[in-house]
């Protein structure tokens, strides 16, 4: 069955590509024909897995790009799915008809809930866990649950890469069984002393559940911390962003190597640093990595910032049901002391299920708008009134909140508003917004 399974996967991938679809369907077919197909493949010698609540795609993209530029033969599930069928599709298509790997390294983005089913079969050499945050509560429950789910798939032979600034991630190595490479971001101009995200989880010590004390925060739970009850503290990291120049969107790694970012949101700093740490452990030269990432960034144009009649426009991409993404946008607005107009909205809360959960709206720290010079806040989409209620309870003057059915109806209000524009949108509203602003036809 192995051969039939492999050839069906390859053929169905080919036919699906004719209709312009790359998907996990071929892997599903292969898995039905031979349910042990993943075990029977002769996999690449080295496998790098990236998992976590967010940042999987960007991190794997950087790693795969630099490895290829360094001359490695790489397979990467860039178009395939990140659950078991998608992984099977990617691995079969990167192997011969007899199931032997054609690439030297596999770079795989894997869904955090699928880790426990896939890792015990493919035995990756390296595992990056980017973060564990509140994400899609109806599906992902809560962060302790996701932690346990990921933990079930790990074994001590895997080399872990963890963000030392994130206390819950350091919990994976509580009994010191893993070889861990930590990375972290040094204090920046945007770091702050006292917690400003009051609705989220206040992290506890991974060792004794004591309250953690922070020397500084980067964002939410991220920062430099130590326990108030026991000797637990932030682990020492091997790779660091030692400077972040947010005016020029440049980061300095290990005091020496510079990367220009086209996206200076905090999550992108950590994704870039995670990729850099893996690549350094693969003995790739720091300057080479930075040059290669710079080229990738230069060619990857994104509509995150542009001008509209002398006003700066920032289009910030968020994910509904994930307060952390919105909170990063809130943090980003704090950097700008000028007058601002804010646009908030989405088309759909979830594409996965019929339920519409609104609880996560109350995990977003909209209260941070109170400290800012806000001209108005324009809300749009099917839950526009629920957003308006949330803003009311954040203490924002009801007269400043303008409510529209969608972004097209809000068009005049957006254009007539004052100050820099911050569009804090779910990803499904970004194209609509850019169309309204006239930069997408």
């Amino acid at each position: 069955m192995k051969f039939i399974s492999i050839i069906s996967c390859k053929l169905s991938t080919f036919f699906l590509s004719l209709v312009g679809r790359g998907s996990s369907l071929p892997g599903t077919i292969a898995n039905i024909l031979d349910k042990n197909i993943l075990k029977k493949l002769e996999l690449p010698k080295r496998i790098i897995v990236v998992t976590g609540s967010s940042g999987k795609g960007s991190t794997t993209k950087i790693i795969a790009h630099v490895l290829r530029e360094s001359g490695f033969k790489v397979c990467h599930n860039e178009k395939g799915g990140n659950q078991k069928p998608g992984i099977i599709t990617t691995l079969i298509n990167a192997s011969t008809l007899s199931g032997k790997a054609k690439s030297e390294i596999a770079v795989l983005e894997i869904d955090e809930r699928s880790i426990k089913y896939i890792l015990p079969i493919i035995h990756p050499t390296d595992v990056v866990i980017t973060n564990i945050t509140r994400d899609q509560p109806p599906r992902q429950k809560h962060i302790n649950f996701i932690f346990e789910e990921i933990n079930k798939g790990l074994d001590k032979n895997m080399h872990l890469y963890l963000n030392a600034n994130d206390p819950i991630l350091t919990k994976f190595n509580l009994d010191d069984k893993f070889n861990v490479t930590y990375y972290s971001l040094d204090k920046t101009n945007n770091s702050y002393k006292d917690n400003i995200f009051n609705s989220l989880n206040y992290p506890r010590c991974p060792k004794c559940n004591g309250v953690l004390e922070y020397k500084f925060y980067h964002f939410e739970d991220l920062g430099e911390y130590k326990c108030t009850l026991c000797d637990y503290k932030m682990p020492k990291s091997k790779y660091k962003i030692t400077n972040f120049d947010d005016l020029h969107k440049t980061i300095t790694l290990d005091k020496k190597y510079k990367i220009n970012l086209n996206n200076d949101m905090l999550y992108n700093l950590f994704n870039t640093l995670a990729a850099y740490s893996v690549l350094r452990e693969y003995d790739i030269d720091s300057s080479f990595i930075c040059n290669s990432i710079n080229t990738l960034n230069k060619n990857n144009k994104v509509f995150t910032k542009y001008k509209y009649h002398n006003r700066e426009v920032f289009v910030l991409n968020n994910k509904c049901e994930n307060a952390t993404t919105y909170n990063q946008s809130m943090l980003y607005t704090l950097k700008d002391n000028n007058m601002k107009t804010i646009v908030i909205g989405w088309k759909e809360i979830s594409r996965r299920y019929l339920w519409d959960d609104l609880s996560w709206l109350y995990d977003i720290e909209f209260e941070l708008f109170n400290k800012q010079n806000i001209d108005r806040i324009i809300v749009a989409g099917p839950q526009r009134y629920d957003i308006a209620v949330r803003l009311k309870y954040a203490g924002i003057d009801e007269n400043k909140v303008k409510i529209y059915k969608d972004l097209y109806e809000a068009s005049d209000e957006i254009k007539d508003s004052n100050g820099n524009l911050y569009a804090i949108l779910n990803f499904d509203y970004v194209d609509d917004f850019n169309t309204v602003m006239g930069c997408l036809k």
Partner: protein, 228 residues
């Protein structure tokens, strides 16, 4: 009049927007010109239940709830006394599970007559509940507790109401999304403290529109084949 409010386990029982309920109460107390004090306490603190007019506890992870329950057990009698005396409790989500006889086989506070077992599948869905306070309750569930509620339910077939103890599994956050229930709860909380208080209408204009719009939205929402 000064209302003393306790947000208990504010830091580890605060999943799913549960911090929203206190924001809502604060807003309307300010609106009504009522003086209030909010204490935020957690499992390392000493609690004097006699001090408070209202105790709020929200949902947390199962691990957090275990920590809280072992802390709360020390105050079992104080809590019972407080409830009997008429102190208001707003207990939402899986925090309610701590108030039964047992929780997943371990001793719980034994204030109400029910045993909680753990569901195999997480119960995660929208919920609409008929009730005596006004319009239907719209909310969200996300927990793993199974128990048979005693006779004194808060809403139709759900939750617990005893004296001024309001317990429900509904998240949402329930107060922000349900203007009738919010109005009822707040009015009773204030009149219990001062029966002569002239409770004027509170500003629920946006809440009411949001409530009705949400119902309309759900009526028209079609099943999309992309959902999986």
């Amino acid at each position: 009049m000064k209302l003393n409010i306790l947000c208990l386990y504010y830091d580890i029982m605060n999943l799913y927007g549960e911090a929203g309920n206190i924001k809502v109460l604060e807003y309307h107390l300010k609106e009504l010109g009522i003086d209030y004090n909010i204490d935020k306490l957690s499992n390392f603190d000493i609690i004097d239940f006699k001090k408070y007019d209202l105790v709020i506890i929200g949902e947390g992870s199962e691990e957090s709830r275990d920590i809280c329950l072992s802390h709360l057990l020390k105050y079992k009698d104080d809590i019972k006394k407080a409830i009997d005396k008429g102190v208001f409790f707003l207990v939402t989500g899986n925090a309610l599970g701590m108030f039964g006889k047992s929780l997943y086989g371990k001793d719980a506070l034994n204030i109400f007559d029910f045993d909680v077992t753990r569901s195999k599948e997480r119960i995660s869905q929208e919920i609409i509940l008929n009730n005596d306070f006004g319009d239907d309750i719209y909310g969200f569930l996300n927990h793993e507790d199974i128990f048979k509620v005693p006779s004194n339910t808060l809403f139709e077939s759900e939750g617990i109401k005893y004296n001024n103890f309001y317990g429900t599994m509904v998240l949402g956050p329930i107060l922000a999304r349900n203007p009738d229930f919010l109005n009822y709860f707040l009015k009773n909380l204030i009149l219990h403290k001062n029966k002569d208080f002239e409770f004027n209408e509170i500003n629920l204009k946006l809440n009411k529109i949001a409530y009705n719009e949400f119902i309309e939205f759900k009526k028209t929402k079609k099943f999309n084949s992309n959902w999986s």
